[in-house]
């Protein structure tokens, strides 16, 4: 019985593929635009916001959960159409890798100025746990504040997974001459960082973690450490010694190469879409602070910000 349904399904699906593709091309295809959802709030809300914008143009939209690193390969193969939050230092590598294989295009950059850097929660500054912060030189005198059970008396930097920036932080620790006082621990994912931050906050403990802005942590206050400023060529990969902070980063949009042709109107809007730091923060806060569901948050944002997104569709 089962195999009959399956064969039937295959025949039908095949037939649809054969006939479905002979549609007219003047306007956007009615085939759904596939938007990925990852596991952090601003991204999911923005997925529904962008989906709502596409729907206002008469497009069909479909949402698919996907891993935030593996998604670029899926865009390349056309299983997913777009990605609307490509963070420079976290996903830049996966994005450019897929782009170099062919099939992914760069669909422009958001206005949001992003920063991805090591930092401390606001209370670390307010309670003066490490006098002199956010200047990085203050770290020399307070390794004990940031020590953990497994850091062997040294201070610990909690970095994101190794897949995000490889050995950038361990190199920086040594290049700044902090190697004897600090160790870098790679967390398994963003969840692990949030859990550590929440736990540290309860105790008022000192903690240094990798973080980024705009992010939901902006609401409670998060201070990025001021390292020696980034200059071209200061990183080891570019010939420098690595003793510099992160550059102000970009937040890009990616799309499958067929998207401009299959959905010209939607692509035009998508390439114009540009959210600011505040707007991204608003979207995340509707879920993380106001506890709305992601869909409701997107509906509310779209209703309240027509003047922001309507121009994208023209």
């Amino acid at each position: 019985m089962f195999s009959i349904t399956k064969t039937l399904g295959a025949i039908i699906a095949g037939a649809v593929l054969a006939f479905g593709s002979s549609a007219a091309i003047a306007k956007d295809s009615s085939k759904p635009i596939v938007i990925p959802t990852h596991n952090w709030s601003s991204q999911v809300v923005m997925a529904y916001v962008i989906g709502g914008i596409f729907e206002s143009l008469g497009d069909n939209v479909e949402y698919k959960p996907a891993d935030s690193q593996a998604v670029y390969e899926a865009i390349r193969l056309g299983d997913i159409t777009i990605s609307h939050e490509v963070w420079q230092s976290t996903f830049g590598k996966s994005f450019y890798k897929a782009m170099s294989k062919g099939g992914v295009i760069d669909a422009g950059t958001h206005a949001a100025a992003t920063l991805e850097e090591m930092g401390v929660p606001q209370y670390v500054i307010d309670d003066n746990l490490c006098p002199g912060l956010p200047n990085w030189e203050a770290l020399k005198n307070c390794k004990g504040v940031f020590a953990t059970a497994d850091s062997g008396g040294k201070g610990r930097w909690l970095e994101g997974p190794q897949s995000w920036h490889g050995d950038l932080m361990p190199v920086r620790v040594n290049a700044l001459g902090l190697g004897n006082d600090y160790v870098v621990k790679f967390a398994g994912g963003a969840d692990a960082i949030w859990a550590e931050l929440a736990s540290a906050k309860k105790e008022g403990r000192g903690i240094i973690t990798f973080n980024w802005t705009p992010n939901f942590t902006d609401a409670e206050g998060f201070v990025f450490i001021e390292f020696p400023p980034y200059t071209d060529g200061c990183r080891v990969a570019d010939g420098g010694d690595g003793s510099c902070g992160s550059p102000k980063g970009w937040l890009k949009k990616a799309a499958n190469y067929k998207f401009p042709k299959t959905h010209p109107a939607a692509y035009k809007a998508f390439s114009k879409i540009s959210f600011t730091t505040t707007q991204v923060g608003q979207m995340a806060a509707l879920v993380d602070v106001d506890k709305l569901s992601h869909q409701d948050a997107a509906k509310k944002w779209l209703a309240e910000n027509e003047d922001v997104w309507k121009p994208f569709t023209r």
Binding site: A70, D191, S199
Partner: protein
Amino acid sequence: MNHLTGHLARHPKLVQFAALLAVFFVLYFSIDPSENNILWRLPAFLAAVPEMLNNSVEFIMFEWLPIETYNVEIEDYETSALMIEITRAISRSVLFCIEFIREILIGGQKTIVAFTSWDFVSENKWARWPALPWTVVAGVAITLGYALSGRWLAILVGCATSYIAVFGQWEPAMETLSFVLIAAPLSVVLGVFLGVVAFKSQKFETVLMPLLNVAQTMPHFSYLVPVTVFFGVGDHAGAIATVIFATPPMIRLTLLGLKGVSPEVLEAGMMNGCNKVQLMFKVLIPTARHDILVGVNQVIMQCLAMAVIASFIGAKGLGFNLLLALNQLRIGQALELGICIVLIAVVLEKLSLGWANKQIDYFADLSFVERHKYPLIMGGILVAGVVLASIGGLIFKDGINYFYLIPHNKGLTTELFWQSGVDWIVDNCYSSLQVFNVGLIVNVLVPMKNAYLGMPVVATFVLVMGIAYIVGGLRSALVVGGLLLFIASTEWWDRALITAYMSTFGVIISATIGLISGSLCAQNKFATKGILLVCDTFQTFPSFIYLIPVIMLFGVTDTSVLIAVIIYATIPATRYTVEGLSNVPQSLQDAGTMSGVSRFQRWIQIELPLAFPHIMLGINQTVVFALFMVIIGAMIGTDDLGQLILKSLSDEFGIGNGLMLGLCVAFIGLAVDQILRTWANERKKALGVA
């Protein structure tokens, strides 16, 4: 002294072990740890294999036998390849089936699209299948439960469905259900089919067995990338990954059941003139029913255990929402989602069990209404549910019709309770646990890790192969040696040692806890039933949920990973101990009691030795569970093989790296399996219970 030599003479293996340890320590301390010393670390012969593997898979998928097609939408020719067209056709048919079931349950338009086109659906807004009211789905499931197994199952199904609906998880639960309803039958059919073929053909069995061993010990993360490359991203990919994970135990148990059919039964079938097909379906499979049912039970548990991991590659439903809740640190919400997963597993398992145990009454002489009682009742429920939903539409004015569909996260919630519970524990226990945490890391974990990393590769080979030789002879030693050689020839030997250290620690603690709690619970019938229920629950309960509270208490450290490992790996140790002890024949226990042994002596001298082979199989499973969880521990933060497996999701040679790393983990498991299984079989023979 005399006593000691006598003791050693009776146990020659003890002498061998002592000698082995002596050699091991000499090697350990005498070999110079330098990178060029081949006795310290083997050169990475296989370092280029991941890239080759990756390139060949990509060649077969994207370049081999290219097909030119004209794509009307982009007005251009596209090159595709044969393989990708084939695998995507499979994807589409699996997806069609999932969408079909999903849309019966919660509505949608994909099925209609499949028969028409997106254009048609866009132009005709009425062309949308409506969702069934949740009361109808619940009512039909309850009736099904009653029809298959009576009142108690009906009550259970009723409670489970109401919980899911009332707590506002109906939509994600139905999404998960729809993909399990495809993945589980597919695994069962495939498993029984391959099991039957292996039963018929000795050659096929010899080829299949090692593949099954690898499939069952390979961590699921390592085949996620290959699955997405072959089949794309989405519910179908999740279902296919689930089938890969759930089929092996089904094959094994089918084969076990068929082999256990006594020749008399077979002969009776042949004497009655059965042909081959009849013999298989009317005689062999029904007789092997018990084992096949255990297989079905395993398949259902495995399918739901995959619910979360499948969402990494696009499966919608409870798993995805669970990851989202965890990212917001909403542990209470994640817990409620986790309970939904367990409930679906329990309901499906009991329903399938009831269905399989249902005997057809060939001689009943029933009227039309009696014969079609249940379909008629279900029809009635459908009408009643629709009427109720329309009434609901009139009563509830705030836009949510609670009699039709309670939207996601708009139902009851106990989140606050759990959240404050977790907060309370973190607030009150953090400081005292911190002392324990530091002590454990400084005094046990770091020294243990360094001891493992300080092992010269030759010493490791001598120790492990030596144990295999003493336990199982030359053949075992060679098998284990071969498995280790593979790992040692990759560039990940040090990481494998770290994986081994964490698994060893986890297994020792888990086995101890399992042995003790299992022994205690086996003393009492109610406790036995209770502990088995706990085991079932924890096996399907998504382990991701306890990662977050563990991090809050112990930070991103090995302690956190190990606690998660111990929670998960204690399940099989406990289960097999309980089962092993409950199966010790009553007569032997009575004989012991009559000889005047105390309760404790009976446990040590009679029960444990007799249950030993079965407990060993449990320890074997504990090792596999521990390895799996150490790999998932990469989500907390580790520096072992798991970190690289997780990283392979975004690697340049992701397919090759993922598969090779997965094989390394699988081979650690198989090496241990080889030793423990041989040992258990030896003991079985010695005890005469083989």
